[in-house]
Symmetry: C2
Subunit: 217 residues, 2 copies
């Protein structure tokens, strides 16, 4: 798709200037998709603008025209992935409590069919802890929000405030299992059963938490 035909539905004669911002938006999205793939396959440091540009069918100068710098491109990739996720959550109303926890398992199940996204996330999250990585703030914030969401769901499920430190620790643990399993699965997909293992751990944690809260609320 490197030709420059008019967008479908546009009138002849008005084609070129009709919706320039629309074609630009398409290009940007194509670049974002390519960048997501490359950063996932090679990491941020090792991924190159030239490779991203080649996938889209332009030169690396074209990529920089749209995003200014490699760093801004990375942040756009991460923001874009969040937007997509939010859209999906907005369509169906957001699950709460135990349903939210089941939703995590369903996500793990879905992830077994899209190793690209999983790898992008896993590689960039770990890479972000180095030096002054551009995505460091992003992931710090992301984990904080995620811990809050999982703690809310756990609190609702076991009947304890989400601020209870045992609940918060359990939330950290569930997120940690998801991330840790992803790395193991990426290295050895046949041995590691992500969704089943996650289901098992969540059940074990909820059960243990329930007991603990019942004993000393």
């Amino acid at each position: 798709m490197t030709t420059t035909e008019a967008p479908p539905g546009s009138l002849p004669g008005t084609a070129r200037a009709a919706r320039p911002q629309e074609r630009t938006a398409q290009r940007r999205r194509a670049i974002l998709d390519a960048a997501t793939r490359v950063f996932g396959e090679r990491g941020y440091n090792n991924g190159s603008l030239v490779e991203i540009a080649e996938i889209v069918g332009i030169t690396h100068a074209g990529v920089l025209h749209h995003f200014g710098s490699k760093e801004q491109l990375l942040l756009a990739v991460l923001a874009h992935r969040d937007e997509v996720d939010i859209e999906r959550l907005a369509t169906q109303q957001r699950p709460v409590g135990a349903e939210f926890l089941s939703h995590l398992v369903a996500t793990a199940q879905a992830n077994t069919e899209r190793s690209g996204i999983v790898q992008t996330y896993a590689v960039l999250a770990a890479e972000s802890v180095t030096g002054d990585h551009p995505a460091q703030e992003f992931f710090r914030g992301r984990f904080a929000v995620l811990r809050g969401d999982v703690a809310d769901a756990l609190g609702l499920t076991v009947g304890a405030p989400a601020s209870d430190e045992r609940v918060v620790a359990a939330a950290s643990a569930i997120i940690a299992v998801m991330d840790g399993l992803q790395v193991q699965w990426l290295l050895d997909a046949e041995t590691v059963a992500m969704p089943d293992t996650l289901r098992f751990v969540i059940d074990a944690i909820v059960e243990s938490l329930r007991r603990s809260v019942a004993a000393t609320p």
Copy 2:
């Protein structure tokens, strides 16, 4: 320590040729330490031989003289870390069963005082899933061995064969929690309590496993 004095205890006159292989071994160890630090702080791709050499007090050509290439240096770093761990395990006899699981918690506790090692491990493990990363085989094998060890300990603890798939899944999960918590902790040390959280999860998993095995052995 960039001077070239004779090793302590060597006789005058025989100093220079006395134990050349010993000084070389010291140099190699110094390079390994520096490389461990740099690869941890910056990742493998982003870490540079020049920076490693500067820490040791030589040029990057000197580093290459000892290790041949950057890739071989990385593999030497990983092998060296394993040797150190094995030595420590060989000194005290290896803990088994529930004691081995407690040993994992103790390790997590010790890790809170050495973020450098933790970061090296976390960053390299995730980076290793990319493309044809030189450490990919190393980490694949490492996870396999680790899963086996934890499964052995779990099997002994709950009275089930280590080959039981529920036991293996539980072993994957425990390793995943350790790794996932490390990333969260590196990004936000104040919020994430590694050892306590790990203890909680291991207890929950063991308890759940015990129940499951008792129901259907």
